[in-house]
Each structure stands twice: as C-alpha cells, then as structure tokens.
C-alpha cells in the first residue's frame, strides 16, 4: 500500500485516490472552431511518460483535484500541488 498525500487532507492510502488525466491539457476553445483532430487530441491522446510525470489526481474522499508529480517507474512522489485558485 502506497501513501499519497492530498494537499488538503494530508497523507492517505492510495486506494482513496483516483487518476484523472495527464496535467497540462487545455480544452481547446471556442468549440465551433476546433477541428475533429484537435478535439480528439485533447480528449484521447497522451504521452504515457516513462519516468517523470505530472498528473491530475482526485482524492475521492474529499473530492478535490490536484496535481501530483511522480515517477512512473520508481513510484516516488516528488510533489503534490493544489490546482490554481485553491490553497492547500
């Protein structure tokens, strides 16, 4: 069992958390000008990085989303940050 740290609730068991998406994706706007390819890119395409990764996770227990920086091979977590506009 790995311990993840929620920026709001502190250290909790990994089963309380859910992976949401890779960080840094921005929804393309305005919708009427977005091509099918750009929309598919936003919706589906990933980097699936081996090693350093920045990801958006949700702490299912408190419902807050946050950014977790971790290594996808060693599982080491180097940083958790609240999303902009939210203070931990």
């Amino acid at each position: 069992m790995q311990i993840f740290t929620c920026p709001f609730c502190g250290p909790r068991e990994e089963t309380e958390f859910h992976f949401a998406a890779e960080a840094g994706k921005h929804r393309p706007e305005p919708a009427e000008e977005v091509s099918d390819a750009d929309w598919a890119d936003y919706l589906y395409l990933n980097d699936a990085p081996k090693g350093a990764a920045r990801e958006v996770w949700v702490h299912a227990t408190c419902g807050e989303f946050f950014v977790m920086t971790r290594d996808t091979v060693t599982r080491e977590i180097t940083d958790v940050t609240a999303l902009p506009g939210r203070d931990g």
């Binding site: 069992m1 790995q2 068991e13 990994e14 089963t15 859910h18 992976f19 099918d36 390819a37 929309w39 598919a40 890119d41 919706l43 589906y44 395409l45 990933n46 980097d47 699936a48 990085p49 081996k50 090693g51 990764a53 990801e55 996808t72 091979v73 060693t74 599982r75």
Partner: protein
C-alpha cells in the same frame, strides 16, 4: 531446421537427446533490412513470421530489448477467446482464434492449445440479459456463443460457491466452447523458430534508442547495437510503444497500467474450463501442471514498472476465494505484473502513424495474448502492402478523430 515429430523424439531419445539444435538463430544486426520490427513478443515475432510466409519478405529483423517473449507474452494468463460484441472485434479476435486452431500444425511447434471452453459468469437477471445480448451478437457475427443456465454452469464447475451466504451466486452466463488456453511461451518460441527458419534475424538485448526520420519518412533505427537501416518499421511493443513513437511526433490514446497475475501451487484437476466472474472481476483456469492461474482488474496507478501493488492483489485474491472458498487452502507460488497499454475503447490501435513507413500494433491492453496471430497477420499485411487489411481498417488511429470508437469495455468482460 529439424522437423519435430514423434519420430524425431524417438530418435533423440535413443541417442540421449544430443542431437537437438537451438530452435532459432541468435543473430547480430546487419546494416540494413527491408523491414524492422521493434518488439520481440508474440505480436512482433508473428509479424516477422507472416512477413516471410505470406509476403515473401525475409530481409527482416526483430529487435528485442530483453529476451523474446519476456514481456506481456510471458506474463499473461494464457486464455484465448473471441467472445466480443462488435462485428469489427469479432472479425479480429476470431481471425486470431482460427489461426490458433491451426497453429501447432502451421509452426510444427506444439502451442498446447486446449479448447476447454470459457464461461463468463453472471449473477443477476440484468446481467443475464446482457449476456444473452452478447451471446446473440456473437452468433450473428458467426462465432460460437451460447447462453448457459445456472444448472449447466454448476455441472461444469461444481466447486463454485453455492452456499447460502455467497455474495455472487452463479446464474449462468456466456459460454464459448472454442475458447481455451494455449502455452504462452510456446507461441513466442514457435513463431520465432518459424521466422528464423525463413531467414528473419531475431536480435535480443537490442534496445531501440530512437527512430531515424529523413524527409518525412522512416529510414531506420538507432539501437544499443548501432544504426540499422530500413524503410519500413513496425512497432509492436505494448506499453513501450508511446515512448518509441514520441520521437516521430506521434501521440497515442494510451495509458499504461500494471496488470497482475498469480499462480497457486499445483493440485489435482478440479477446474476444466476458463472462468471469468463478472461479480469479482477475477478470472481463473487450471494449468496442465495443476496450478490455478488467475488474475483480475488493473492496478489503478499508471505505471511503467513491471510490478504490481498490494490493493489490486487483495481484490483479485479475495475475488477468487469468493468464487471458490475451497481455494483458501492453496498457497500462492508466484505473482507478477506486466505493463499493459490501455485504450479508452478497450480496442487495439493498428495502422500507419507519423512518417511514411512507420506502423504500429499496440493498445491491446489486457487482452493481447489471445490476439497474437491476428496482430502479426495484420501488421505484416500493413508493412508489406503499405495499406490496411480490411479487418484492421476499423482499428486505425483515425477512429478517434472520426468518432468511430469500438467500445469493447463490456465485451472484454473486464473493467478497464
């Protein structure tokens, strides 16, 4: 190549087995090939075999960073089946199953295919209705599938939990009689032997460092053993595929997760089908040696490490014990994990990507082993002809922009 037969076994038996030769050549890379395949798992080796056999291409190299069949081909639970829902999927997976049915003869290598049948077990009237729908879809798509009732299911699998306090009682489910298991290592080794015999170079311990691209087309690969040129490159590297094609500016709809599997100590025969329980998500079969081979859902943390985590183990093992309380006495022999490439619609991605001459066969997620012969057949077709086989066309990467997803999340039977 020595042909394997009862006679060759007898002859070698009479001379203390001194005459056996390695089944495939250990090759060193040549400077150039007509085609390079990255990934020496089942899909990559099958691609090489069919390139040589179906398309007469023998100047082909298979590059494997470790040892052949050491990735997901050696880490799965060996089930083969084609009980999917959509016509596109059934065409794909049943091509694989039909090729599996003739594979031992085709390769002169015993892949120990055992078509012992598979039950996807349901527990509620609503689940039984979905099962009926899938079984009917299978029949409409021309493969064998039937709705099995509880009585027949319990006759076939008498050890199933039938106690009054069972959390998930078996009401029956979908039965596919042609499904079963095959020896996973033998599939890799058989294809390697067949490909090597037709002139394909199988190069192990050769990591691809980057793709070489000039003027919008692929010209070769840079590897740990030097530069190798080819104007056609196929990638069949499961979870490593996104990292390899990133060089070419290609992004894929893939997340990589660890999928774990387990074997128990061997016991006498007590389970002669493959069983998937919808309630627990655990699937199990008994190997020829008597071990219970089982697995379940994905670990929930994206990873590239070939090791699993404890919460997923607890879910899978407790699921097995709910299904078969008697197995609580078994000891676990081994547990391991592979890195699987999961796509949002649970269907593979096959087709050309990025620069001219680059092709991929990935995204099989948790179900790549059953598809090995088809994956190889279709990637070989793509690489030889430069265009899709009609069966692989719907699985092109362009389906995401076209909105033509083939959502097999339910048909695949596993929650991923």
């Amino acid at each position: 190549m020595t042909r394997y037969s009862a006679f060759s076994l007898l002859r070698e038996g009479l001379r203390s087995h001194r005459g056996w030769r390695p089944a495939w050549r250990k090759a060193r890379p040549k400077p150039a090939y007509d085609a390079i395949i990255i990934g020496g798992g089942g899909h990559g080796l099958a691609t090489a075999y069919y390139l040589a056999k179906n398309h007469g291409m023998s100047r082909v190299a298979v590059l494997e960073r470790g040892w052949i069949g050491g990735g997901n081909t050696g880490r799965n639970t060996t089930a083969v089946r084609s009980n999917y829902f959509y016509p596109e999927s059934v065409a794909l997976y049943d091509l694989a199953l039909r090729l599996y049915e003739g594979l031992s003869q085709e390769l002169n290598y015993n892949v120990m295919l055992s078509q012992r049948g598979m039950l996807i077990a349901a527990h509620t009237p609503a689940q039984m209705e979905i099962c009926a729908r899938i079984a009917n879809a299978m029949r409409l798509n021309g493969v064998d599938g039937e709705l099995m009732g509880a009585e027949e299911a319990l006759r076939r699998i008498p050890l199933l939990n039938q106690t009054a306090d069972a959390r998930y009682k078996c009401m029956g489910g979908i039965w596919q009689g042609r499904a079963g298991v095959a020896r996973h290592d033998a599939v890799a080794w058989g294809y390697a032997r067949g490909a090597s015999d037709r002139g394909v170079d199988i190069i192990e311990n050769c990591a691809v460092e980057r793709l070489l691209i000039e003027g919008g087309r692929i010209t070769g690969v840079e590897t740990s053993l030097g530069t190798i040129r080819a104007d056609r490159v196929g990638v069949a590297a499961a979870g490593a595929t996104p990292g390899i094609v990133a060089e070419a500016g290609v992004r894929l709809p893939i997340h990589t997760y660890a999928l774990q599997a387990f074997v128990s100590e061997p016991v006498k025969p007590c389970l002669d089908t493959v069983l998937l329980y919808l309630g627990t998500g655990t699937y199990v079969s008994q190997s020829d040696k008597g071990e219970m081979v089982f697995g379940g859902g994905l670990d929930r943390v994206p990873t590239h490490a070939q090791k699993g985590n404890l919460p997923a183990q607890e879910v899978v093992i407790s699921g097995l014990l709910e299904m078969f309380p008697a197995f609580g006495q078994l000891k676990l022999l081994r547990q391991w994990a592979g890195v699987v490439d999961v796509v949002p619609d649970s269907s593979p991605v096959i087709g050309p990507v990025g620069p001219e001459g680059l092709f991929i066969n990935c995204g099989w997620g948790t179900g790549g082993f059953k598809a090995i012969p088809a994956g190889g057949w279709l990637l070989a077709h793509l690489m030889a002809k430069g265009q899709h086989h009609e069966i692989s066309r719907p699985f092109d990467l362009d389906r995401f922009a076209r909105g033509r997803l083939i959502d097999e999340a339910a048909g695949a039977g596993i929650s991923h």
